[in-house]
C-alpha cells in the first residue's frame, strides 16, 4: 500500500470510528501531508504503519491538550523525541488519541472531551488512562498506538480491550515531549495488534536521548528472537496476585495460559512479592506529589487559555485558570500531592512512600536474581467495568491498578497479552521481566500469542 493509500484508508477508519470518541484530533489534511513526507523518505522498519499518539505526547502538526481544558488548542512548537524517531523509521503519525485528563485515571472517564467507548460494549469503559489509544488499535483503526504509563495506563486498557500493551523499563524510552505527570514513573508505552507490531515500535523508540537525563546510555532494545517453545524458561507466579477472591473469569483465563506455558516446556513455580499490598497506596502518594509539581506550570501565563477571576491580581489569574481548566480528578490529585509534600507531612507520607517503593522494587530484584526469568499474573482484577461504576469513590478506581502498579514503581518492563474472553469481554495476562530484559519478555509473549486463543471463552 502506498503512503497515499494508507492516508486515505486511515482517514476512512478514523471517520468510521468517530462514535467511540477515541480521537481528539485527526485530519485528512495532516494524514495527506504525512503521506507526502513519507513518499520521499527512504523505507524504514515502520514503513506502512500508521500510529496514533496519545494526546499527552507533543506533536507539531496537531494540538496537544492532554484531554484538558487548560490546554485547549495548544500547539507545541517542538515534537517529542519518540515522534521524531517514529517518523524517521517510516511510520505515519496519525492523529491524537483521547485519554484521562493528564493521564490521571483508569477508565478514560476523566477526559474533558467526553469518555471513550469500549468497542465491544459501549456501556463499558476501555480502561485508562490511555483508553483512546487502546480503542483505536482494538477497533482496527491503526495497527499500533502510543500510550503512556505511570501506573498501568497501557497494560490495563490493553487487557480491557483485548490488545497487546507493552511498558518498557523506565529509562528505556525518552520522555522528552511526554507531558510530565509522575516523572519517576512515566513511561511512553505501546499498544499493538500483535506482539510483533508493539515490539517493532518499541525498538525504534528506545535508546538514550541527551535531552532526557533519565534515559540510560544502554544500547537500544533488540527485537525479540522468535521462540518455538519455553524449555528452560522459569516463570514465577507471585501468590499475592492470585488472591482467593480473584474474579473467576480472570482466574480461568490465567489458568488456561499457565497450562499452555507448561505445555510449551516452561518451568512454573510459585513465588512471593511480599510488599505487593503496599503498591497502590505507595503509588497514590508518589504520583500525586510529582504531578502537583509538574502541573504547576499550567497557570495561564505563557500558553493555554486564561481565566481572570474576581480580584484583579495575578493570584486571581492562577486560581481561576487552574480551577476552571483542571477537571475534578486532576484537582484532587494536585491537592493530595500538595498535601503529602507539605510541611509537617512530607516525612510521614512522601519520604516514607519512597522508602516503601524501594522495598517493592527489591521484591522484584530478589525474585529475578533467584532464577526466575519472567513473572506471570493477571493484568486486571476484573474485565472492563461499566461506565460510572467506579466514579463516585476515587479509591475504588485506584484499586483497579492493583496488579499493574507494582511494576511501574519498580521501573521494570511489563506487558499485557490477550489470553481469552469472559462472557465476550477480553481478559489480559501480564508478563513482567527484569530491568532492561524486554526482548526475552516479548519473545515469550510472541509464542504465547500464537498458542493461546485470545478470543476463546475461558469459562465453558
Amino acid at each position: 500500500m502506498s503512503a497515499h493509500d494508507l492516508a486515505v484508508e486511515t482517514g476512512r477508519r478514523f471517520a468510521e470510528a468517530a462514535p467511540l470518541n477515541a480521537t481528539l484530533h485527526w485530519s485528512q489534511d495532516v494524514l495527506d501531508r504525512e503521506a507526502a513526507r513519507l513518499s520521499v523518505t527512504p523505507d524504514g522498519p515502520l514503513t506502512g504503519m500508521a500510529i496514533a499518539i496519545k494526546d499527552n505526547i507533543v506533536t507539531t502538526e496537531e494540538p496537544t491538550t492532554c484531554a484538558s481544558k487548560i490546554l485547549a488548542g495548544y500547539i507545541s512548537p517542538f515534537e517529542a523525541t519518540v515522534i521524531s524517531r517514529l517518523r524517521s523509521a517510516g511510520a505515519m503519525v496519525a492523529g491524537k488519541a483521547n485519554l484521562d485528563e493528564f493521564a490521571m485515571g483508569s477508565s478514560t472517564e476523566n477526559s474533558a472531551y467526553g469518555r471513550v467507548l469500549h468497542p465491544l460494549d459501549h456501556s463499558r469503559v476501555p480502561g485508562g488512562s490511555s483508553g483512546g489509544s487502546a480503542v483505536l488499535v482494538a477497533a482496527g483503526v491503526v495497527p499500533a498506538a502510543l500510550g503512556s504509563e505511570t501506573g498501568g495506563s497501557v497494560r490495563q486498557p490493553a487487557a480491557f480491550c483485548g490488545v497487546v500493551g507493552v511498558k518498557p523499563s523506565y529509562a528505556r524510552v525518552s520522555r522528552f515531549g511526554l507531558v510530565a505527570f509522575g516523572s519517576s514513573l512515566d513511561c511512553i508505552s505501546v499498544f499493538g495488534r500483535t506482539v510483533d507490531d508493539a515490539a517493532r515500535v518499541l525498538a525504534v523508540m528506545s535508546g538514550h536521548d541527551p535531552r532526557d537525563s533519565t534515559t540510560r546510555a544502554e544500547p537500544p532494545m533488540q527485537l525479540p528472537v522468535p521462540r518455538t517453545d519455553l524449555r528452560g524458561v522459569v516463570v514465577g507466579l507471585p501468590r499475592e496476585y492470585f488472591p482467593a477472591d480473584l474474579d473467576p473469569g480472570i482466574r480461568a483465563g490465567c489458568d488456561r495460559a499457565i497450562a499452555a506455558m507448561k505445555e510449551l516446556g516452561a518451568t512454573v513455580r510459585e513465588v512471593s512479592l511480599p510488599h505487593t499490598r503496599y503498591a497502590v497506596p505507595t503509588y497514590y502518594i508518589v504520583n500525586p506529589a510529582e504531578a502537583a509539581a509538574n502541573l504547576a506550570r499550567f497557570d495561564g501565563v505563557r500558553y493555554g487559555p486564561r481565566h481572570v477571576g474576581s480580584g484583579a491580581d495575578v493570584r486571581a489569574l492562577y486560581q481561576a485558570t487552574r480551577g476552571e481548566g483542571f477537571g475534578p480528578e486532576v484537582r484532587r490529585r494536585i491537592l493530595v500531592g500538595t498535601f503529602v509534600l507539605s510541611a509537617g507531612y512530607a516525612d510521614q507520607y512522601y519520604v516514607r512512600a519512597q522508602a516503601v517503593r524501594k522495598l517493592i522494587a527489591d521484591d522484584f530484584a530478589r525474585v529475578f536474581a533467584d532464577g526466575v526469568d519472567l513473572l506471570f499474573t493477571p493484568t486486571t482484577p476484573t474485565p472492563a467495568f461499566k461506565a460510572g461504576e467506579k466514579t463516585t469513590d476515587p479509591v475504588q478506581m485506584y484499586l483497579a491498578d492493583v496488579f499493574v502498579a507494582p511494576a511501574s514503581l519498580a521501573g521494570v518492563p511489563a506487558m499485557s497479552l490477550p489470553i481469552g474472553r469472559d462472557q465476550g469481554l477480553p481478559i489480559g495476562g501480564q508478563l513482567i521481566a527484569a530491568d532492561f530484559d524486554e526482548s526475552r519478555m516479548l519473545a515469550v509473549a510472541g509464542l504465547l500469542e500464537r498458542t493461546v486463543d485470545a478470543v476463546a471463552e475461558v469459562r465453558t
Binding site: R175, A180, R211, S213, R297, V301, Y303, V314, L341, S342
Partner: protein, 472 residues
C-alpha cells in the same frame, strides 16, 4: 546598654557560562525580551532539564576557593512556589544535599582585625526571569531571558558582627571568586546579588529574631542598609517592642529600610529531589584536579609578595586586589625589574591607564626597559615619568624617546663642572653662608644646576663636583 549585631549574608553569583543551567539557551545579557528562550526555560509541556557541565565545574572551583568540602554526591531538588517569572512553578535548586558545605574565609574586620567567617553551603540553582512592574500600568510584564541562568548560592554562617564586617566579607568573597575565574561578580550587571539577614541581642542571650534585607545594589549600600536596619531593630527593642520576622527593602536615595507588605504565611517550598535529574556524582579524582587547577588565591599571593619578594604590606595588599594588576606586576618583575621598583611603577604611573581603560597599555618589557635607563642613569626618575606617558601611544623604545625628547641626562663631568661653576659664581652670598656652616644649601645649589642645565644634569653626578668646588 550594649547590643550585639548578628549578620549572615546570602550571595548569588552567576558563573560565567555560555549557556543556561538546564538548557542550551545563551546567557547573553541585554537581548530583546523573550528571545533567549526554548521549551525548557519557558516551561513548556514535555520539556526536560539537562545540567550544564561548566556550571558544575565553576561552582566546584568557587566552593574550593571558599574552603568548602565538595559533596561527591549532591542532589537537585524542586523548590515549589508560584510567581509570574518562575515558568515551571518550581525552581530547580539544591536542598539537603548541596554541592558544597563547611567552608571558611578570612576577612579583615574593621573592628576585630583578621577573623574567620564560616561558609555554611554553596549550591547550584537556576535563576528566575524578570518581572517588570512599571512598564505597563496595572500589569506586570515578564521577560524569561534570564530564566534558567545558572546561579551559585553562597550562604554564610551568622558570623558577622557589624555592617563593616559584612562589607569586608563581600569584598573578600568577590575577590576569591574573581581569582578562581568563577564569575565576573558585577553587581551592576547582575552577576552578583546580595541578601542580608540581621538580628540583634544582648551579649550572651540567644539569637534574636532576624529580618531579611534585600534590594541593595552595591557593597556600600549593603553596609548602609545594615546600619539602618540595626538602628531600627535596636530602637524597637529599646522601646520594649518585639522584632517581627519581615523582609525589608533598602531605598538607596533615602538610606532607609522599609518592610515589604507582609506576606500572609511564610513559604512552604515542599522540597523534594527532582525526579528528572539523577544525582550529581563527582569523582574524588576530578575534585582533586579542580583543586590543583585553582590559581594562587589572594592570601597566598600576598604572603608570597611580602615574604618572598620583600614588598611592604601596603604594596602587597594593593597589588593583589585585582588579579589583572597582580599579573601585570609579576610580568614586570619577570622582565627584570626589582620588585619594589616594579610595585612603585605599577601602583603609580601605570594605574592611571588601568583605571581609565581597564587594561595596561604599556607592555611589561617596555616598562622594564624604561626602568633600566633610570637605573643606569641615562634619565632621571622625573624624566622617566614623562617618557612613560609617551610609551602608550608610541612604538619607540624608551631610550629613543629619551633622545627625541631631549631627556637624556648629562653626566659628562666637564659639562657638570661648567654648570656648577656658573651657579657658584652667580650666588656668592649662598656660597658664603654655606661655608659658614649652612650645609642645607646643597639642595639649593643642586636645584640651580638642574635649572641651568634645563633638567638634564644628572643629580648624582652634581653632588661630588659641588662638594669638591665648595671645599676649595
Amino acid at each position: 546598654m550594649t547590643w550585639e549585631t548578628v549578620i549572615g549574608l546570602e550571595i548569588h553569583v552567576q558563573p560565567a557560562t555560555r549557556s543556561k543551567m538546564f538548557c542550551g539557551c545563551a546567557t547573553t545579557y541585554g537581548e530583546a525580551p523573550n528571545t533567549n528562550v526554548c521549551p525548557v526555560c519557558l516551561g513548556l509541556p514535555g520539556a526536560l532539564p539537562t545540567v550544564n557541565a561548566e556550571a558544575v565545574r565553576l561552582g566546584t572551583l568557587g566552593a574550593l576557593a571558599l574552603g568548602c568540602q565538595i559533596r561527591e554526591r549532591s542532589v537537585f531538588a524542586r523548590k515549589n512556589y508560584f510567581y509570574p517569572d518562575l515558568p515551571k512553578g518550581y525552581q530547580i535548586s539544591q536542598f539537603d544535599k548541596p554541592l558544597a558545605e563547611h567552608g571558611t574565609v578570612v576577612i579583615e574586620s574593621p573592628e576585630r582585625g583578621p577573623i574567620e567567617i564560616s561558609i555554611t553551603r554553596l549550591h547550584l540553582e537556576e535563576d528566575a526571569g524578570k518581572s517588570l512592574h512599571d512598564r505597563l500600568p496595572g500589569l506586570t510584564a515578564v521577560d524569561l531571558n534570564r530564566a534558567g541562568t545558572p546561579l551559585a548560592e553562597i550562604v554564610s554562617g551568622p558570623d558577622m558582627r557589624s555592617p563593616g564586617e559584612a562589607r569586608a566579607y563581600l569584598t573578600t568573597v568577590r575577590q576569591l571568586l574573581i581569582y578562581a575565574g568563577v564569575s565576573e561578580c558585577s553587581m551592576e550587571k547582575g552577576s552578583l546579588r546580595v541578601d542580608a539577614n540581621l538580628s540583634v541581642r544582648r551579649p550572651g542571650d540567644p539569637l534574636g529574631t532576624k529580618t531579611e534585607v534585600k534590594n541593595m545594589n552595591s557593597f556600600a549600600n549593603v553596609e548602609r542598609a545594615l546600619e539602618a536596619e540595626r538602628t531600627r531593630q535596636i530602637a524597637m527593642l529599646e522601646r520594649g517592642e518585639r522584632v517581627t520576622q519581615v523582609t525589608l527593602t533598602f531605598n538607596a536615595a533615602t538610606g532607609e529600610v522599609k518592610p515589604l507588605r507582609s506576606k500572609e504565611d511564610s513559604h512552604d517550598y515542599r522540597y523534594f529531589p527532582d525526579p528528572d535529574l539523577p544525582p550529581l556524582v563527582l569523582d574524588a579524582a576530578w575534585i582533586a584536579a579542580q583543586r590543583a587547577a585553582l590559581p594562587e588565591l589572594p592570601a597566598a599571593r600576598r604572603a608570597r609578595y611580602q615574604d618572598v619578594l620583600g614588598l611592604p604590606e601596603y604594596d602587597a595588599r594593593t597589588l593583589i586586589q585585582e588579579p589583572a594588576v597582580a599579573a601585570y606586576f609579576e610580568a614586570v618583575v619577570t622582565a627584570g625589574v626589582e620588585p619594589k621598583t616594579a610595585s612603585n611603577w605599577v601602583l603609580g604611573e601605570a594605574m592611571g591607564g588601568w583605571n581609565e581603560q581597564g587594561h595596561f597599555a604599556v607592555a611589561p618589557e617596555r616598562l622594564a626597559a624604561l626602568v633600566g635607563i633610570v637605573t643606569d642613569g641615562t634619565v632621571s626618575l622625573q624624566a622617566a615619568k614623562r617618557i612613560f606617558g609617551e610609551l602608550a601611544s608610541s612604538d619607540e623604545s624608551p631610550r629613543a624617546l629619551a633622545d627625541r625628547l631631549g631627556l637624556v641626562q648629562v653626566r659628562d663631568s666637564g659639562a657638570l663642572e661648567g654648570w656648577v661653576a656658573e651657579v657658584l659664581a652667580a650666588h656668592p652670598d649662598e656660597v658664603a653662608r654655606y661655608k659658614g656652616g649652612d650645609t642645607k644649601l646643597t639642595g639649593f645649589f643642586v636645584g640651580q644646576v638642574m635649572k641651568r642645565s634645563q633638567g638634564k644634569a644628572d643629580p648624582k653626578g652634581i653632588q661630588p663636583i659641588l662638594a669638591a668646588k665648595l671645599a676649595e
